[in-house]
Symmetry: C2
């Protein structure tokens, strides 16, 4: 029952050392009578690259230097140092909190001079914490800062979860109707005990996941069934990345519309706002299993179950057709052009039209026949 | 391993009988050469009552009769009958789906004449399904229609979950960092194997729940720790109701602001749009443990951690002071007036200001001293 926490602590010590190094560098700069500086990778658009060779979005080589003696940067500089100090404290205490908890710790120590909007859970890309992540080459999860968690998993995957002084074994085949909720951090204190699956199926909507879970799709197909519940959280993308690294094929099943395409491409290539995490969260190996407009050729009944494409779907399709990396994939180009031409779209739920269990047959067939888009 | 499903099936049979009864009544009306009618409780504002005696919001006695031979009602009438027929099919097949899945089944059978907006997961109060729920006195979960699930639980609670042909035992003390995700339906096929807790603590924010879970608050205090993750889902409210029926005290811990108050009162008294489910989901026994503006008297440091109340907080406080049932609670009136006077509010996260683990000490002390608002 009592966890060894060996690996966990070793990782923590490493991060603490990095945080200390940051402070020591600044102290030395002060001793040498120069102004403290802080160097981090530039995260603005000009330094975000879709790297065709590796297949995901990453930061380029441009860096940015923050200087303490700069009127525009002094306050943020101080806040960044204060955050680094708090994170070191959290790591030493072996306790996690949210961005909001961090905000109140800072407010308690520093007083009123804090922009609370910067520390809302909604502001996904908190620039101050990102500065630290990038400068130290760690994820905020490694700094004991939890991010919003979302998504559920079921199937032949057993995890060892060391957390809060105990260790639990999570068997994702025994989680009933609910499945196991994907946490913020799937690295620290967390390991795969066994992964005995043939592939990973990622299903956009929770309702569809529940449908497949009820039919024990993951059991019949020996796969790991994940839903991000819409846009995938950092933890969910990281879990998918880790499973792909175990050589499991990853298939993604979304609506054929703006939102569905975005969810797929964010899992596959990462996203602009998380470009600095590219290699940790992107899964270029992922393939798109459906639904597609071309499915209508194979499954007649879908023709009557399309619905009107919204403004946002049309706009997104046009946008995607302007991306160089999409143009390399003829199947995607054809798909997007069909939506633009017909002004119709298709939801994954439509596969339940003739009978509720049809969706499982559809997936089985498409996966067996390898009918994927890139 | 193989479930008996005895109770589950018995419940299903009962609901199927009710659905058949609905159809048979209509057939008899047709045979008697009168027009089919369908009687349901009126769900508009004029028939929604806050019942002070029982402490929750319920429907009054007014009913509404829908007639097939009414130009304005014929289409909806037909759709309601079609939904009843589909739900009977789902129950016979022992398969669940979402409102969206139901939409596509209807679209497949009935063709284009369906208002898809009526069947979006976002339209919380789908009037057609509600008609059935009210007329048959069942919950949509009993009709095998899943609702949006949300919320997490940890603590000394063991559940038996019979679902999709297997049975799993869920021990909520062994769910690691994640906790157990609260499903849409906590009644059918689901039972408490054991509940060995002293009380239930409901925590508004997931981040705060994770903080308390990491500190094993539920273990130290022998309580069941729930987060609805904001506004409580139907399943979460139902679970709280069921635990309260086991004679466990229920304490709710939210922000001191518009959203927090709403979450508390919805758990306690139910809500207008779910008035027809009042007794199944309301927990009038619930007490409000914090955070409160008066906490500042006992915990000095909170004074510097208040933040500016928003427009919506001010408006909500004014609104609540116009409700008769709030005026009965002097402590609530005082609380709301303090917000209006100071134009400040307090978040539960502020309790992490001095140290991350302080929030547990705060809760322990307030619960021990029974410092609750009604």
């Amino acid at each position: 029952m009592v966890p060894t926490k060996k690996e966990g602590r070793a990782k923590d010590e490493e991060v603490i050392k990095k945080l200390e190094g940051l402070g020591q560098d600044m102290l030395e700069q002060i001793k040498a009578k120069s102004t403290p500086t802080f160097t981090t990778a530039l995260r603005s658009k000009g330094n975000i690259i879709y790297d065709q060779g590796i297949g995901y979005i990453r930061l380029g080589d441009k860096t940015e230097e923050r200087r303490f003696v700069n009127v525009g940067q002094a306050r943020k500089f101080m806040q960044t140092v204060a955050i680094a100090s708090k994170c070191k404290k959290f790591l030493n205490e072996d306790a996690h909190t949210s961005i909001r908890g961090l905000f109140y710790q800072l407010k308690f120590s520093l007083g009123e001079n804090l922009d609370e909007e910067l520390f809302s859970e909604q502001s996904e890309s908190n620039p101050l914490v990102e500065d630290l992540e990038v400068a130290l080459n760690v994820k905020r999860e490694d700094l004991n800062l939890n991010t919003d968690r979302k998504g559920v998993v079921a199937g032949p995957l057993v995890l060892r979860d060391k957390f809060g002084g105990t260790e639990d074994e999570i068997d994702c085949t025994r989680q009933g109707r609910s499945g196991w909720m994907i946490p913020s951090d799937v690295d620290n204190g967390m390991e795969f005990k066994s992964v005995d699956a043939d592939y990973v199926l990622v299903v956009e909507k929770d309702a569809m996941w529940q449908r497949l879970n009820e039919d024990k799709y993951w059991k019949k197909e020996n796969c790991i069934l994940i839903t991000p519940k819409g846009q995938a959280s950092r933890g969910c993308r990281r879990l998918i990345r880790k499973l792909a690294s175990k050589k499991l094929p990853v298939y993604v099943f979304t609506d054929c519309d703006a939102w569905g395409w975005y969810i797929y491409w964010a899992i596959k290539t990462g996203s602009m706002n998380l470009a600095y995490l590219g290699q940790d969260i992107a899964t270029p190996e992922a393939r798109f299993v459906g639904v597609t407009m071309r499915d209508i050729k194979d499954y007649d009944f879908l023709a009557q179950l399309t619905i009107k494409a919204k403004e946002v779907d049309i706009k997104r399709a046009e946008e995607m057709l302007s991306y160089e990396w999409i143009l390399h994939h003829k199947d995607w180009v054809e798909e997007l052009k069909t939506v633009l031409k017909t002004k119709r779209k298709l939801e994954q739920d439509a596969l339940q039209g003739p009978r509720l269990s049809f969706v499982g047959d559809y997936l089985k067939e498409k996966i067996a026949k390898k009918k994927f888009l890139a």
